[in-house]
């Protein structure tokens, strides 16, 4: 076959090259540069002071500071808070919008809108709702008999304030994925389960859930990776405060680099977070291959 000659492979490699080159220059190079910076003492406020090689001291500083582990803990806490609610609520909403009833299509479409909104706008509209004394959220909650909550100014609620905004934006993602997985299911196991006289809950846990589990795992990894990238909403709502109650990893890097101008420390913290992300990405790919093998 003339079509699949060896010469063609070389042409294909030429097709591939520009993208690889661009990605290498724009991603790998800055990362290597960050790696270089992480071994230097680099103060942006003093540009003419030579960047002295300081060995592992930036890493030592990051890895021994209680502040860094505090931010790691906050990041993890926020991840668990958002992911667990999104999973339960998203699967529930996915089951809801796949009911064959009139009006479901429109509802499903409307519920997808939050995902397409810029995270800054999400932050701003929730700031409007949370706003101390004026915001509408406490007013709405008062009808449910809930006392006013200091959403963004108290250490115990600020993280929830951020989590709720993220949950609002991304629960539709789990809903959408669940709905897509549900519509692809074959009806036979359901008919069998109904003939056997199982309850709706039994059918859900024994028939539906195992079938959509691979899809849910992939979706959760995507959300977990995104949880390490969350930044805009926090920047708008709390800027990491009050105190350091909502200082996630990305906020810590930002503050080290651009508030205290300690680029070396910021770069070292970036590298530690990259290691965690790489681990998550590898797990995600594994789950993806796994779910592909099943389907």
């Amino acid at each position: 076959m003339a079509y699949s000659k060896k010469r063609n492979r070389n042409i294909f490699l030429i097709f591939l090259l520009p993208a690889i080159l661009v990605l290498f220059l724009t991603t790998i190079y800055p990362m290597l540069y960050a790696g270089y910076l992480s071994f230097r003492s680099y103060d942006l406020a003093k540009p003419f002071v030579p960047r002295i090689f300081v060995g592992w001291s930036n890493y030592k500083e990051v890895l021994t500071s209680s502040e860094f582990f505090h931010t790691l803990w906050i990041t993890l806490k926020l991840m668990v808070m958002t992911l667990s609610v999104q999973l339960v609520l998203g699967v529930g909403m996915g089951l809801l919008v796949t009911q064959r009833l009139p009006g479901m299509g429109i509802a499903r479409t409307a519920l997808l809108i939050p995902m397409m909104i810029s995270p800054v706008i999400v932050g701003l509209v929730w700031l409007f709702l949370y706003f101390p004394e004026l915001g509408y959220l406490n007013y709405f909650l008062s009808f449910l008999g809930i006392n006013p909550i200091a959403w963004i100014t108290s250490t115990e609620w600020a993280l929830w304030a951020i989590a709720i905004a993220d949950i609002w934006q991304w629960t539709p993602f789990i809903m959408m994925g669940t709905a897509a997985a549900l519509t692809n299911l074959s009806p036979e196991p359901y008919e069998a389960a109904q003939i056997d006289g199982n309850s709706t809950w039994d059918i859900f846990t024994r028939v539906t859930l195992p079938q959509i589990k691979p899809v849910l795992i992939s979706l959760m990894f995507l959300r977990a990776i995104d949880a390490f990238r969350i930044y805009d909403i926090i920047f708008v709502l709390t800027k990491g405060g009050p105190g350091d109650a909502t200082e996630v990893l990305s906020m810590f890097i930002y503050r080290q680099s651009f508030t205290f101008w300690r680029m070396g420390t910021g770069a070292a913290a970036s590298f530690v977070s990259l290691v965690v992300i790489i681990l998550l990405i590898m797990l995600f790919f594994k789950s993806l291959n796994h779910s592909r093998r099943i389907s």
Partner: protein, 274 residues
């Protein structure tokens, strides 16, 4: 599927109404606050019926060059989309057609480039662009957004190219077309929906982005998301202008959801779910 009972139907609709109220309230707030007179902005109970005012929109475009900021956003978003589609679809075609076991690794490496936290590379970018004199230019943002948009395009387009039947390409090859000719005349037109979806996702991502735009632009290349945030200051928050700006920024995303929601799953899961 069995026909649901009326009791169950009632329960389903009840849940749906609650979910819709909760999830649509913030969007309603953006729209209504952008046309609400400032004195009743936080009035309780909220005024659902009021005479709308266009003051916030007028102020938005007259007090600051918001039109210029929107133009900046458009330049950056369209530039990055064009750049990413060109390089991304060529690479995707290669990845789809080369039969080699290492190709999967290359595809995964490209995808992983999208997943890194942007904050981790913002420091080096700042230093590099400063040295290159590219701070506060659209070019800096076009380059950065492409690092996220190229991997997305590659993964989406690879899925679409995989679905194009080889026999059509082989027929074109027998007619004497070269590889680039086959790609341009046969494969790409058949994968046109993929190209449209990739374009829309690249555009929306760049249009919505905030951190890099905030840190790498000043007054010249500022984008709309950064400009909206500038109406927020600790002493005076101009909510009307913020909401009016938010609504303008919201429009492309809403149009996208309404027109191509059937591609949304595929795009947002990077092709993992079809």
């Amino acid at each position: 599927m069995i026909k649901p009972s009326s009791q169950k139907t009632f329960f389903v609709y009840l849940c749906l109404v609650i979910v819709l109220i909760v999830f649509m309230t913030p969007i309603y707030i953006i729209v209504s606050s952008s046309i609400k007179p400032s004195p009743i902005m936080f009035q309780k109970p909220p005024a659902f019926v009021f005479s709308p005012t266009w003051d916030h929109y007028v102020a938005l475009f007259s007090e600051r060059p918001f039109l210029k900021f929107i133009t900046n956003s458009l330049i950056v978003a369209l530039g990055s989309t064009a750049f990413s589609l060109t390089f991304g679809s060529l690479a995707a075609y290669a990845l789809s057609r080369i039969r080699h076991k290492r190709m999967n690794d290359v595809a995964f490496w490209i995808l992983s480039m999208r997943m890194f936290p942007p904050i981790a590379v913002v420091v080096p970018y700042y230093i590099i662009f400063k040295a290159a004199g590219l701070l506060d230019t659209p070019i800096a943002l076009i380059i950065i957004y492409s690092t996220a948009n190229i991997p997305l395009t590659v993964w989406l387009m690879k899925g679409f190219f995989d679905e194009v039947p080889r026999s059509l390409e082989e027929a074109a090859a027998l007619d004497g077309h070269g590889l680039l000719g086959i790609f341009w005349r046969v494969t790409l037109p058949l994968a046109a929906p993929g190209l449209a979806v990739s374009a829309v996702f690249c555009f929306i991502f760049s249009w919505n982005e905030f951190i890099f735009a905030l840190m790498l632009t000043g007054s010249q290349a500022q984008t709309a998301t950064v400009a909206v945030m500038s109406f927020w200051s600790s002493d005076a928050v101009q909510w009307g202008r913020i909401m009016a700006g938010s609504f303008v920024i919201l429009i492309p995303g809403v149009i996208f959801v309404l027109t191509c929601q059937r591609w949304l799953v595929r795009g947002l899961t990077l092709g993992a779910i079809k």
